[in-house]
Each structure stands twice: as structure tokens, then as C-alpha cells.
Symmetry: C2
Subunit: 113 residues, 2 copies
């Protein structure tokens, strides 16, 4: 994450839950999808991903199941109902925060468009 590291912090859970709200995915798939969709702005590292996934499972926002693919074990993650609700809350918080920052730096907010 290098340069952008600070900017991302705290939002990673939201981004992962958002991905999984569309379909079940395994770890590497999340990293790739995140990277592609954001035009390489989000480059989540495995050292950040797995501890985060484990904690989301522990908190009941995700559950996981194993599947064989090309002989390799893949651990798929699926968002729970609780996870969906939590995602909604995180998005609300993000929107409020982003608008406040935009206001501070004199940037036009989306609500004003």
C-alpha cells in the first residue's frame, strides 16, 4: 500500500464486505478484484488480508467453506446477514466522513451535484 497506506486504513473491511456482497470469493480473488476495479489504487497485501478475514469471521460478518479447485484448496468466504447490515453501517459512515473531508478541503460534495 506504500503511499496510500494511511488513506486506506479502516476501510478495508468495508471494501471486502462490499466485494463479498456480490459473490463468494477466496483470498487471492479478493486482492485481484480489488486491485482491478480500483485501477490499482487498492493493493491489499496478504499480510493484511488474512488476519482481517479471520477477524470478520470471528465477529460473525463472514463465514467460510473449503472447495477444491485444480487440486488446490480454496477457502471461500461468504457474507452473512449480520455482515450485510454491518456493511450498510460502514458505508453510511464512509459517506459522512468523505463528505466532511470534501467540505474541509473546499471540494464540491456529491450531494450538491
Amino acid at each position: 500500500m506504500t503511499v496510500n497506506r494511511n488513506l486506506v486504513s479502516g476501510n478495508t473491511s468495508m471494501l471486502l464486505l462490499r466485494l463479498l456482497s456480490e459473490k463468494d470469493m477466496y483470498g487471492y480473488e479478493m486482492i485481484d478484484t480489488l486491485s482491478k476495479r480500483s485501477n490499482n489504487i487498492f493493493e491489499l497485501k496478504v499480510g493484511s488480508l488474512y488476519p482481517l478475514l479471520h477477524s470478520l469471521v470471528k465477529e460473525g460478518y463472514l463465514k467460510s467453506f473449503d472447495e477444491q479447485a485444480n487440486g488446490k484448496l480454496r477457502k471461500y468466504y461468504q457474507i452473512t446477514e449480520s455482515g450485510e447490515r454491518y456493511l450498510g453501517k460502514l458505508i453510511e459512515e464512509w459517506v459522512a466522513h468523505a463528505d466532511a473531508v470534501d467540505m474541509m478541503i473546499g471540494r464540491r460534495m456529491r450531494s450538491e451535484c
Copy 2:
């Protein structure tokens, strides 16, 4: 910062530099102004503020001078030219990041307005 803590991380430097790009301020004034302008979304704590101000001075983005006000010592901070340039860079990064997050969560971006 409690709930919002994670959302703010990393952007505090940008917000402080942005405030100081308008006028010189002392510590408490920054906290109050930040809080008021953001409708209490940013509640920066002194334990975060002073170490951050010191590091910004150390990096040459700010300089400080003392002034007496009502008998109390106030330490005013002033943004440097280097600080203005750095602020510009931080804002650029923020805009790119915020747009990427908006894209991820399916929110319309400002550039599309």
C-alpha cells in the same frame, strides 16, 4: 474519535495543513475549528494533535511562534511553502482515494456529476 477513528486515519495532516493554509492558528483553535466546520464529525484529541504538529514542524511543513494572549502563552503554527506543496499532494491523493472507494461501493463520483 471512537467510531470514526479508523476513517480519519492518515488524513489528519491534510486537514490541519488545510486549516493553516487559511490562517495561523494555535492548537486548541485547530481542534475547535475542525470540529465546527465538519459538524462535529472530526473530533481531534490533544493526544493526537500535539505529536502530529511537532512532527509536521520537524518535517518542515509548519513553523511555530509564541504569542501572549490574555496572559496565556499561545503557540501559533504557520504553514511553510513546503507545507503548501505537501498539502496539494495530500489533497490529490485523497481525491483519487475517495473516488476509488466511491467506485467500489457503487456511489456516483463527483467527476461524473
